[in-house]
């Protein structure tokens, strides 16, 4: 292993550490306090769920642009059903069902029809986004239309001694555990990585490529729907665009995670670090009263730096 490979693997981690030190020095009383960290964990929980499930499709070398729109759609579906008088449980199940159906549609387009994931999910992104407006009639559902049992969930938590772990954080951790088990501990996950490694070789070595690839997209659909519900619960309202921003950040987190893995492939624990990095950066900048537009510029720059340091290892070989 040469210097460039080390720089690629540990550059992101070193940058992460420097960032934490910088904020810890500049915000000595607040940044590293347990309260703030628990707060961050709740803020990033929706992004985390989308990014974890995005790791599943990216392990195959695919990606899913429709997750943000799906999150919005799932949120307004649930809220609209609340208004229609459905019980909370049924409305949530219906919203998750929409996520699964959307995922199956994406998987069908990509795996069975063979449309490039970029094109297919760009299309479904537009479709889901439009449907969110159709379902909600373009309005925001809020206030008394949202049952207290639903919005209360995001405010609940698990008391652990003097700390209280937010419920949304626990959801994100549960999704992390499930995705980690699926990707790292099951033959299914190994096969997804095989598809990402060489799809032709995987097929000829007996992997049911079409079926696996199809099913993998249900993870992103489902993850997006869960995130949309978490979002709606947290802000106790639902509007047809509130999840849209999740998609780019989620893909960015997976890329950040990829720079830290040995073979440069998406690993869900790496993605988790990527999510933490973005979340802490966001939190620190907000506390230092940095303008949110500047934050966007910084986030974009960091991603490019991380991925550029990743390609350092390969540049020299050409």
């Amino acid at each position: 292993m040469n210097v460039a490979v080390h720089l690629r693997r540990y550059g992101t981690l070193a940058g992460f550490a420097l960032m934490v030190i910088f904020f810890a020095v500049n915000l000595p009383d607040t940044f590293l306090s347990a309260r703030n960290l628990l707060n961050v964990s709740q803020q990033i929980s929706m992004l985390a769920v989308v990014a974890f499930t995005m790791t599943v499709v990216m392990s195959m070398g695919d990606f899913d642009l429709s997750v943000g729109a799906m999150a919005s759609l799932a949120g307004v579906v649930a809220a609209t059903l609340f208004v229609a008088g459905w019980p909370v449980g049924w409305a949530i199940a219906a919203a998750l069902g929409v996520g699964v159906v959307g995922g199956l549609l994406n998987g069908f387009l990509v795996s069975i029809l063979g449309i490039l994931p970029f094109v297919a999910t760009l299309g479904t992104m537009t479709v889901f986004g439009g449907l969110a407006f159709v379902v909600s009639d373009g309005r925001t559902v809020f206030g008394r239309d949202i049952p207290a049992g639903f919005s209360g969930f995001a405010r609940s938590g698990l008391e652990l001694g003097e700390w209280r772990i937010p419920a949304l954080t626990l959801v994100a951790l549960a999704v992390l555990a499930v995705i980690w088990l699926v990707l790292e501990q099951t033959p299914y996950g190994r096969r997804l990585y095989a598809i990402g490694g060489n799809i032709e070789a995987a097929r000829l070595a007996g992997t049911r490529v079409k079926r696996l690839r199809w099913l993998a997209f249900t993870f992103t659909g489902m993850g997006a729907a869960i995130a949309g519900l978490m979002y709606a619960s947290r802000v106790a309202s639902a509007n047809p665009t509130q999840g849209d921003g999740l998609m780019l950040d989620a893909i960015a987190c997976v890329f950040l995670g990829m720079t830290m893995s040995e073979e440069g492939e998406p690993r869900v624990l790496g993605t988790a670090l990527g999510v933490l990095l973005l979340g802490l950066l966001d939190n620190g900048l907000t506390q230092m009263n940095v303008d949110s537009y500047i934050r966007e510029v910084l986030v974009g720059t960091i991603i490019i730096l991380a991925v550029a340091s990743g390609s350092l290892g390969t540049l020299r070989r050409r």
Binding site: Q185, T186, P187, G189, R190, R191, Y193, A194, G197, N198, E200, A201, A202, R203, L204, A205, G206, T207, R208, E263, G264, E265
Partner: protein
């Protein structure tokens, strides 16, 4: 008409000394064969000559006068030209455009491409070595591999700057049919007659013995043998390459492992790809070879048996039941497959050895199909690696860092892992060095000894004759017959491939 001399060439990558004091002299009008196992330093030597890799130490002289070689431009100025195994053509452009790709395009009114002049110049270049059958207006992507090779050569000859004086050909016949290879040899003879020097790199011993005037063998980065071809022999070269005397190139069956009686595979009236009416029965432990010209349908037959191609017609019966309908079903029913192109179709190059070996066996190595056991997978990969004599530093290294022979052994380790009842091997030793070939032959024998039925294709006819019990011949789009391999000569087999009637009827 110049003599190019390299002396004292040293090159290290980190602690690894890839080339150690290599001397090489290329005389005008001579074909100089460069041989050695994969990893012996041939590719590095070629890269140094091309100016892509800087030598640590080297003296290069042309007709005794010392010259500098510090980049591809210097190599070109010295008159060095390179023909690689992977042919650099642009498939979407015409033959003429490919030939004149690096030249100034003829124009009309200084602007529009003068297509007529372009084609005429390309046709000229092709005609210089009798390749008049290639239409300069044809799309290059539609050409056969051999015609692509001729196109590349024509492109080199069409260069109007420094006249080329040294051609470096890296495994030029690896993808050619016999007829195409013969045409290439004619071109080489012509170049030789014009006073060019040719450095010819190949694994194909028979070819080298036939066309080279002089041979240099590298072993572990040093020159192990360098002499006129007349002073050595095939055996001498192999001995120099491996450092040990040549045992029997093709291990014979050991006692008591003759093919059994049970039929593993029954194929009737199979039509797929370019062939029709393939029919044979494969017994337990039998090795059946499929011979034919390049693209005669060998690969398609194997893919059809794997269930990966739909049959136009015919029946495949595996172990008494209808043949598999997908590669996944095939592996599940004990069929192992070694694809033709290991890099594109066989390996996940960026991944380490273990995942590559255990990929089709994940289910079996897991707990109830649900839980992967990483340790069991690594143990399996190590055990199979030992079986095929895989050489590696650590199990975690990516297969891209292995030599070609060892990459092929990874694909083999995967195939032998499930003790398959049927193994389909498509060109199992393509681009593999002599030492690794021996290991692969022994693996095939071991498979057959345990009762696995083997169907293999190869463009290396002595290999088919040496390894197989029977050989099925594809000729002119159909099965021309099946012959016993014992006592067959390459010449006889080749004649049958070209359409002579096999001595024996269809078995």
């Amino acid at each position: 008409m110049r003599t190019l001399t390299i002396s004292g060439l040293d090159k290290s990558y980190g602690p690894a000394r890839v080339l150690r004091g290599v001397d090489l002299t290329l005389h005008p009008g001579e074909v100089h064969a460069l041989m050695g196992e994969n990893g012996a330093g041939k590719s590095t030597l070629i890269k140094v000559l091309a100016g892509i890799v800087d030598a640590d130490r080297m003296t290069l002289a042309v007709d005794g006068a010392e010259r500098r070689l510090a980049g591809p431009a210097d190599a070109a100025a010295l008159g060095l030209r390179f023909v690689h195994q992977e042919l650099n053509i642009v498939p979407s452009l015409s033959v003429a455009e490919n030939i004149l790709l690096s030249r100034h395009t003829p124009r009309r009114f200084g602007l529009a491409v003068d297509w007529a002049a372009l084609r005429a110049r390309a046709a000229d270049a092709l005609a210089r070595f009798g390749a008049t059958h290639i239409d300069p207006g044809a799309r290059a992507g539609g050409l056969s591999t051999g015609d692509r090779m001729l196109t590349v050569l024509a492109g080199i000859l069409a260069a109007d700057d420094t006249p080329p004086s040294v051609f470096v050909m890296d495994e030029p016949t690896a993808a050619l049919t016999h007829a195409e290879a013969d045409r290439l040899f004619a071109v080489i003879a012509e170049l030789k007659a014009r006073g060019a020097a040719i450095l010819y790199v190949s694994h194909r011993m028979a070819e080298v013995v036939a066309i080279a005037n002089r041979v240099t063998v590298l072993r572990d980065g040093a020159v192990a043998l360098s002499c006129p071809m007349a002073e050595t022999s095939k055996e001498g070269i192999i001995e120099a390459m491996t450092g040990q005397p040549l045992a029997d190139a093709y291990p014979s069956r050991t006692e008591g492992t003759a093919p059994g009686r049970d039929i593993v595979l029954d194929v009737a009236e199979l039509s797929v790809g370019p062939v029709c009416d393939v029919a044979f029965r494969l017994r337990r432990g039998e090795i059946l070879g499929i011979a034919g010209l390049e693209g005669a349908g060998q690969s398609e037959v194997l893919r059809a048996l794997l269930g990966d191609l739909t049959l136009r017609n015919g029946r495949v019966t595996l172990g008494g039941e209808p043949g598999p309908r997908s590669a996944a079903e095939a592996w599940g029913r004990g069929v192992a497959y070694v694809p033709r192109e290991r890099r594109a179709e066989g390996l996940m190059l960026g991944r380490s050895i273990a995942p590559n070996v255990v990929l089709p066996h994940l289910q079996r190595l897991s707990r109830m199909g649900l839980w992967s056991r990483g340790r069991a997978e690594r143990v399996e990969a190590e055990a199979r690696g030992r079986e095929v004599r895989l050489k590696y530093d650590r199990l975690g290294q990516s297969v891209a860092t292995l030599s070609g022979g060892n990459q092929q052994k990874v694909v083999f380790a995967r195939a032998v892992a499930g003790t398959p009842r049927l193994a389909l091997l498509d060109e199992p030793t393509r681009g593999v060095d002599v030492g690794a070939r021996g290991d692969i032959y022994r693996s095939i024998r071991r498979l057959s000894a345990t009762g696995t039925g083997v169907v293999m294709t190869s463009s290396d006819l002595p290999e088919l004759i040496g390894m197989c019990d029977r050989i099925l011949i594809l000729s002119g789009g159909r099965q021309a017959g099946i012959v016993e391999a014992a006592g067959l000569t390459s010449a006889r087999l080749l004649a049958m491939i070209y359409g002579d009637r096999p001595a024996e009827a269809v078995a």
